[in-house]
């Protein structure tokens, strides 16, 4: 909730609440209350409190503390490409990959690990990817059922 330190906040900037519908498309569940950790500065906060720009081509999500890009969503035709490499963690107990409509950039999107605890899921991404390549071709991944 603290100001985007050291960066003049654009009055057009939204916050993570504004992409609740997009996040449900991608993750298959409500995600605005999910906990995030910025890979650049380590700041932790609910996804709803991140800075969101929707006027760029696609949706760009930035850290409210350091301004680093933490998430990018680009929709092409019926697919959404997701880059989460600016996060060290994204945790939402009920999250699961929604469907084959979600496309993941191989090597550039941190990979998910799933922990099955009774009927709910814990998904935490570890940052283990190379810098994003503009030539990357998105690849369709089948949904993961835990």
């Amino acid at each position: 909730m603290d100001a985007l330190d050291g960066n003049a906040l654009d009055g057009n900037a939204l916050d993570g609440n504004a992409i609740g519908g997009l996040l449900i498309d991608v993750f298959g569940t409500e995600m605005t209350a999910a906990a995030t950790t910025c890979a650049t500065c380590g700041a932790s906060r609910p996804l709803a409190e991140l800075v969101v720009y929707r006027r760029a081509p696609g949706t760009v999500v930035r850290c409210r503390t350091c301004g680093a890009i933490v998430m990018v969503f680009v929709r092409r035709m019926e697919r959404t490409s997701v880059d989460l490499s600016g996060l060290t963690s994204l945790s939402e107990p009920r999250a699961l990959w929604a469907s084959g409509r979600v496309t993941i950039c191989p090597g550039h999107t941190a990979r998910g690990s799933h922990r099955d605890t009774r009927s709910w899921y814990a998904v935490t991404w570890a940052r283990s990817c190379a810098p994003h390549s503009p030539t990357c071709e998105p690849r369709r991944e089948e949904p993961t059922q835990c």
């Binding site: 909730m1 603290d2 100001a3 906040l9 654009d10 009055g11 057009n12 900037a13 939204l14 916050d15 993570g16 609440n17 504004a18 609740g20 519908g21 449900i24 498309d25 298959g28 569940t29 409500e30 995600m31 605005t32 209350a33 609910p46 996804l47 709803a48 409190e49 699961l96 929604a98 469907s99």
Partner: protein
């Protein structure tokens, strides 16, 4: 449009417009009846999608104005240079259909189990989700005391004015008018600042829970003000809708 619900996905559906009523000269509340609606939580929103004849689509998010248990309603401010809002608050009529999906949001929500006391700060149409929370508080007979500070341009721009004036015990509503005020106005004027917040918000020692909604610049100022008064950041929940209410 998809006709079958798919697990883990929000489906677009055509809701029937039950009524359109005007809150101010430019703000309308639209009551809707979606075919598939399992209820909502106070503070959530819906995505609305308009489709032009050539296939072009425009999507916007609108906070739900009604309390859980009440028919779905959204309140829309008509922005003269807007793409979607002039249609919703101007062209839409009872009996029309409106494509929407929801409810959406799990962070900027309040229920009786979240307790209080509540400090609610609204900038313009940011009052909409906070009104849902207040109605929910009343309908559930929650004991959470609430203080709402509503910043509006002028008295004629205050949404839900009659309703907000009728809340009784446990809910205190204050206004600050930023551009104009009626003759004899004894309420606050000007943009919110630390002095005003210190006067109308719960002191931090009461361990209040705060919800702030409005234009981005309003939310930034209000949130920084509450933290300056000692509110822990994790007790301050915010929702921003851009420069002038891009939705």
């Amino acid at each position: 449009m998809e006709t079958t619900a798919i697990r883990g996905r929000l489906n677009w559906q055509a809701a029937r417009v039950i009524s359109v009523s005007w809150e101010t000269a430019s703000v309308a509340t639209i009551e809707l009846e979606p075919p598939d609606w399992a209820g909502h939580r106070a503070g959530q929103h819906v995505d609305v999608r308009l489709t032009a004849e050539d296939g072009y689509t425009a999507e916007r998010s609108y906070s739900i104005a009604s309390a859980p248990g009440e028919p779905l309603a959204i309140t829309v401010e008509r922005l003269e240079d807007g793409e979607v809002s002039p249609y919703l608050a101007g062209e839409l009529r009872a009996g029309d259909e409106l494509e929407l999906r929801g409810p959406i949001g799990g962070y900027f929500v309040w229920g009786p189990s979240d307790g209080g006391p509540l400090t609610l700060l609204a900038g313009g149409s940011g009052v909409v989700p906070l009104r849902s929370m207040l109605r929910h508080r009343v309908s559930t007979r929650s004991g959470a005391q609430a203080r709402l500070l509503y910043s509006a341009r002028g008295w004629e721009d205050v949404i839900y004015r009659d309703e907000l004036g009728q809340y009784g015990d446990g809910i205190r509503v204050s206004y600050t008018l930023t551009r104009s005020h009626p003759p004899g106005w004894t309420g606050h004027t000007g943009r919110i600042d630390s002095a005003l917040l210190a006067e109308v918000a719960w002191p931090a020692g009461a361990n209040p829970l705060a919800y702030i909604c409005g234009p981005t610049s309003f939310v930034e100022a209000a949130a920084a003000g509450l933290v300056g008064l000692g509110y822990p950041p994790e007790r301050v929940k915010t929702e921003r809708f851009g420069a002038t209410g891009g939705r």
